[in-house]
Amino acid sequence: MTTNPQRTHADLVVIGLLLVGVGMAFGQWWAPQAGPADTALVFVGGGERARLPLHVDATLEVAGTIGISRLQVADGGIRFADSPCRHKLCVRAGFLRHGHDAAACVPNRVSVALTGGNRSYDSINF
C-alpha cells in the first residue's frame, strides 16, 4: 500500500466537505454570548469599589485620583454621567448594557465593567 505524498483532488473535496460541516456547526451552535448584563462592577484604582444591580435605577459618586466620577444606572444600563477628566471619553461612551461591556475614566482611575451577560429567556418559570 502506498500513500501518495502529493495533494490530490480528493483531499480538496474532503477539506471542502469538512469546511461545510464546520460552517454548519457555526450556524447551529455558535451563539455570541453577550446578552443584556445584570450587574455592573465599579473599580477605583483597580480595586472593586461597588457592585450595582442594573435593574435598580441609581446614581453613585466615587472618588478617584483627581475628583468625583458620577455613575448613573437607568433602564438596565450604566453610564458615566460626569467625570472630572478633560476629554470626557468615559461620558461619551454612553450607556453600557451588555456582558463584557466596559468603560473607564483613565485620568481618574475609575472603571466600570458589566457582568452577567446571560442570554435573555423566552419565559420565566416560578
Partner: protein, 179 residues
C-alpha cells in the same frame, strides 16, 4: 521484507518521537482550552504512509499510553479524552486507508485529506466525551464550532507537513513497504 523485530524497533522509535512531541505540546500554553496543534499526529501520518496502517495504529496507541504515563495523566479524565480522541482519529485513518485501497487512483487521499479527517474526528470525539462525561453544560456547545474550525486548520497544517516529510524521506530512502 523486514523482520518482526525490526518492525517493532521501528514502531518503538516512532512512538518515542511522537511522545516527545506530545509532551512538548502539553507544555505549550494554549489560548483556548482544548485547542492544540496535534503535531504528534504528523508522526502517525508519516508512519501510515511509509510503514502501513498496522504500524500507524501501534504508534498512535503507544503515543497516547506512553505520553500519559510520562506526563502523569494515565487513567485520569484527561487520559480518557486523549484516548477517546486517538481511537476516533485512528478509526478514521483506518477507514481512509481502506478507502485508498479500493478507490480509483484519482479519488485517493493524500496525508493532507487524511490529516484533516483525523483531526476533526479527534476533536469531535473529545468534545462528545467531555460534554457527555464531564460537563453536560449546554453553553459548552457554542464552543464546538470554534474547536472544529481550529481542528480543521491544524489538520491542514499537520497533513501538509506529513506530506512534505514523506516526500523528503522518499529522497533519502525509498518507502519500505512500497514494493
Amino acid at each position: 521484507m523486514r523482520s518482526a523485530q525490526q518492525q517493532d524497533a521501528l514502531i518503538g522509535w516512532f512512538a518515542a518521537l511522537a511522545v516527545v512531541i506530545h509532551i512538548f505540546e502539553a507544555g505549550l500554553p494554549s489560548p483556548v482550552p482544548g485547542i492544540k496543534p496535534g503535531l504528534a499526529n504528523v508522526i502517525t501520518l508519516v508512519v501510515l504512509a511509509r510503514h502501513g496502517l498496522a504500524a500507524a495504529l501501534w504508534v498512535g496507541a503507544l503515543r497516547v499510553l506512553a505520553g500519559s504515563l510520562v506526563i502523569g495523566t494515565f487513567l485520569t479524565p484527561t487520559f480518557a479524552l486523549s484516548a477517546g480522541g486517538a481511537i476516533a482519529s485512528l478509526a478514521v485513518l483506518a477507514l481512509a486507508a481502506k478507502w485508498n485501497q479500493v478507490a480509483p487512483s484519482n479519488a485517493q487521499l493524500s496525508l493532507l485529506g487524511m490529516g484533516c479527517l483525523a483531526a476533526v474526528a479527534h476533536m469531535s470525539a473529545q468534545f462528545v466525551l467531555a460534554w457527555r462525561l464531564f460537563v453536560p453544560h449546554p453553553g459548552l456547545l457554542s464552543l464546538l464550532p470554534v474547536l472544529l474550525l481550529a481542528a480543521l486548520l491544524f489538520g491542514i497544517c499537520t497533513g501538509w507537513l506529513a506530506n512534505a516529510l514523506v516526500r523528503e524521506a522518499a529522497k533519502l530512502a525509498p518507502p519500505p513497504v512500497a514494493a
